[in-house]
Structure formats: structure tokens, C-alpha cells
Amino acid sequence: MRHKYDEKKIRRVIGEKVQFVQGDASAVYGALLAGCSFFAGYPITPASETAELMSKLLPKAGGVYIQMEDEIASMGAIIGASWAGAKTMTTTSGPGFSLMQENIGYACMTETPCVVIDVQRSGPSTGQPTEGSQGDMMQARWGTHGDHEIIALSPNSVQETLDLTIEAFNLSEKYRTPVILLTDGEIGHLREKCVMPEKGEFEIIDRKGPTVGRDKYVPFQADESLVPSMARFGDGYHVYVTGLTHVEKGYPSTSSAEDHDRLVRRLVDKIEKNRKSITMVEKDYQKGSKIAILAYGASARPSAAAVRKLRRKRKKVDFLRLITIWPFPNEEVRELADRVDRIYVPEMNLGQLVHPIREAAEGRAKIIQVPRIGGPLHTPKEIMDAMRKKA
């Protein structure tokens, strides 16, 4: 079954150009606009709305929706469908994201494009199903075992959820790697104005296909981009895909240090070497600031409000918002650390990104955590109070 990208049809399925919707809905719109044609999922608060809306819209847009028996199966199914040529996605929250980890690693190792949206909720374990959190930032990075690099993005609004979902698909196709979109219960359930981008306002990237004949094609051989071209199942390339360490032909090589080193370093390098172009941040700096707030996702909203309030009181403050989470925007954080003395980091966890932030700052600025857990967002006042206390 060949999926044809039919933009007119997709726009008809999405409906009005300007809508007042939840982040969970705008994620679905983004996926459809990006050309998603296969979705497998398993219900979980606060991500269920994505699956419900997908089940309604995707068939109309020419794609296929399936509810699997668990999140392990959802992740497996989107990888299988991706090799059959589809752009694929699943959505979940913490407990399901934990179950997906082994197969996320499989997607990294086999260079399978796919998108996972984690609408984060308060954990550990079943935790607080209806409460948002930023508790999976490190799970997204290191949840699966072994050396690997991953791409993860985090939106702070309903509109950005749509935009970054499209971006997630594009990055996964370009680099042949799973891409994680880290939203959360706050953004997922928030209703805001959302504008569907016009044709020309966004890009659609498709994975490279083989450019040589079947007998010349080497499935895991990469050019200088470090990303191999991907043959689709059924096209006669007899591709062999395994999560075992493999040589360029795809065949297992399980006891050669060189083969393992070559493969895993390429998998890391294809992302690492493109860190600059993958990195997206929002910077709002003031000349002469000595303090800064560094935030991402939902907690960037009260952070931005705190910045506005402080500036109204004529306090100078820098603001940096991370949009790309992984690979980590080291340079941008270091640049900020060079500008100011203290960086406040409000996170909806007891301290996750504060660690790579500290590492990137290399002691050039003091990094101060402003943690909050249990659901509600920080208030701007809470952030300002924390800044006063440590001042």
C-alpha cells in the first residue's frame, strides 16, 4: 500500500485553518501535515486524546490507525511499518514510554525513522496520571541501553507542538533515527489558538532511497552525510535488518570490537556532527544582565512571565529557552554562562536538565535549580522568589 501525500485531502481532514485546540490535537495535525501514514498506540492519560483523534482523522487522510495490545507492540509496529515505507508515529506517557525503551534502542540501531510523542506525566510509576511533569527528560536520553545519540524536542505551546511534530518527522527522516517529542500534561491538555501553516511555510523531508541497483546496494553503507539510504521492504533489495551489531551489508558481527566501534560511532556522529543544525533555542538577552532564566517546555511559560515581570521592575535578566533538548545545546548554554553570573533553571522535576546545563556551563556561571513536582506549573512569583533568595 503506497501512501500518497495528498495535501488538499489532509487540509480537508484537519478542517479550519485557525483553531482553538489542545496540544494533543495540534500534535495530530502536525503529524498529518508531515505525512504520517501509520499510527500505532495504546491509551494512556494524558496522551489518549492524540490516539482518539488519530483514529478519527488518519483513515480519512489515507493512513492507518491501530491500537496495539501494549506500548511495546506499538513501538514494534511503527518500526515494522516504517520499513514498509510509511512515516510512522506513536504517542504515550511515562509508563508507556518506559515500556517502549527497548524498541526505541532497536530503532536507533537499525536506523529506522519514527516519531514518539511522550506527553509527560508525574511519576515514577503510575504516579499522577492527570498531572503534567518534565520527568522523562533523561529517560528520553538514556532510557534505552547502550551508547547512542537521540533527538528530542520540547514545545511550550499548542502551536509549537504542531510545528515541532512536523520537525520531528523531518529530522527522523533526514537522520534515520527515532525522534522524541517531549510534551507534557500541561501543554497536551492546554487549549490555545493554533494556525495551520501554509504550503511553503514548512518543509517536508523524505528519507533517501537507494540510488544504485539491487546488486550494488549496501544497506548500511553511508556517504559523507553518515546516513545510509533506506530501501523499502518489498522492493527487491532483500534487506537484512537486525538490532545486533552489524557490518555495512547488515549482517551480524557480534564479537568484533572494530565493527561495533565503527557502527556505533557513526550512529552517534550522524547526529552529533549535526548538533548545530538540529539545535533550536529561543534567546532573549539583555545587555549587562548578571542573571538568567533557562527553561524549556511548559515551565518556560511561567519563566517567561517572570522575566517580563523582572524587566518591568527594571531588573536586567537573560532568558534562554531550549527547544531542542537532545542533542543538548551545549554551545548555547555555554554562551549564556559566559554572559551571566547565575542561571536559574525551573524544571518540573527534581533536577534533570540541570545536570547537562551544569556540564555545559563548565563553572562559568552558578547554576541554581528551581524544582517543582506534583502537577501545577511554577508560578512566576515562585521563580522570582527563588531568585531573590539565592541572590
Binding site: 500500500m1 501512501h3 501514514s37 501509520f38 500505532a40 483513515p59 480519512k60 489515507g62 492507518v64 491501530i66 496495539m68 495490545e69 501494549d70 511495546i72 507492540a73 506499538s74 513501538m75 514494534g76 509496529a77 511503527i78 518500526i79 515494522g80 511499518a81 516504517s82 520499513w83 514498509a84 515505507g85 510509511a86 510512522t88 527497548e102 524498541n103 532497536y106 521492504f233 518489498g234 522492493d235 527487491g236 533489495y237 532483500h238 534487506v239 537484512y240 535488518v241 537486525t242 538490532g243 545486533l244 547488515g250 549482517y251 551480524p252
Partner: protein
Amino acid sequence: MMAKKKKAYRLKHYLREELLPTTFCQGCGCGTVLNTYAQAIEELQINPKDIVSVTGIGCSSWIPSPYFKADTLHTTHGRAIAFATGVKIMKPEANVVVIAGDGDLAGIGGNHLIHAARRNVGLAVFLINNMIYGMTGGQVSPMTPLGDKTTTTPYGNPEYPFNIAEFVAAAGANYVARWTTYHVFPLMESIQKAMTKDGFSFVEILTQCPVSYGRRVGMRTGEEFLKYFKENTINSLKAKDMTPEEIGDKIIVGKIVERNRKEFTTILREMNEERRK
């Protein structure tokens, strides 16, 4: 004297020749299954281009993966059916074949097996039942007989094994059969049936693992297993008219179920097409 020319294996072109010889142990039944499978495909005249092999982790998964030359997805342990479901939905015209072990499909992956049978997804699933976790060196599996000593049941297996074929039949599969590596010709026909039948098809293939299992239960060679399979099996057609006492410990081989429920991806496609009108 003229050197006797070694005859080339007739079905070699179905295999990734550069990876031969296989890594299977001496006496292992995996080679028999691979040979029977290749023979079945040749007789059916299926172009390997139209086959997608999806496997789990274990010795049995190595039967097609990497040896059978077709698009191949060697997945994570237990999850082959989930991956295969994704492939089948997007490539309903392909012959999507799952081959994996008893630990893989009935243990860690049991849930996917039940649900794929319930959905009646058009997969051909071959469960290679060597009654043991072979690749990891002989630990107890959900198919190990009661009382058997394995590396993790040093005092005997306290658990009952699965009747996995009956179970899959009850879950809704369109075709279910059980054969052994002794019964190669009926096995081949059964493989062909599974590959041509619409809907979920499942063949449990009892096989020998003399190295990780046999030597701990007093069957040190492949031949001993084949003899055991020969002497301890009853065809399902015959068993139908026998009492449980008469059947005793014998293994029932042959067709377990055949029905004609509509295949899942067909239903899905029809429903989706309705929405697109």
C-alpha cells in the same frame, strides 16, 4: 580415479550464501526447518521479493534471519509479531512470515501472539518448539515438560507446559497445525497451507535441541529425538476418536483448526476506504 563431485545444495539460491555454513549445532533441527521451508517456497513458486521474514531472538529466529534471502527484520526478543503487524498493515500484499522459538513466541512474546491470532492478522507464524531456551544455554521455557531438568530447574521443572497450538486456535487463528521435524513432508504441506491461507496461520514445529536440552534429559543426538517424535505422536484425525486415556502423553500432530474468518488488514482496509469516500 575421478574425484567425486560434490552435489550443490539445490535450494541454495534461496539462502544468503555468503553467510553459510549456518551456526546451528550438530543435530539441531533448525536446518531441517530451513530446508523444508525453502522447499515449500519453491513449490509454491513464491518470489522471495514478496516475502518479509520477521523474527525474534533465539536460535530458531536464525532460520530465516539471516539465512533466508528476503527482506528480513530480526527484531527484539518476543516482539516479532508486533513488528510484523506493522509491516503487514502497510504491505498487505506481502507474505509476512514470523519464525521464532517457543521462549520467544510463547514466553516473552505470548501477549502479541494471542492478540495477533484474535485480530486474525494475515501472518504465517512458525513457532519452533525445542522445549528450551536454546540460545541462552538451556534454561526452562514455557514449553519444557513437567519435571524436566534444565539449567534453571536443577530439581526438575515444577511448571506445566503450554498447549500453545490449542491456545492460538482458541484465540481465533484461521489455521493452526502442529508437526515435528520427523514429519518433514506433512510439515512442508502445512507450511504451504499457512503461507497461502488468508488470516492468521500458526504451525507449531516440534524440533530437537540435543545440545541445550537433549543431553540433560537423556537424548544426546538428533536421531533420538526424531525417533521419539515418530513413536510418540498421533495424528489429530485419529486422536479425534480416542479417549484422553488412550491418547495419554502422546503429542497430537496434524491440523488443529481451520476456519475462514475475514483477515484483519482486509477488514481494516475496507473500513478505511469507507471513510475516504
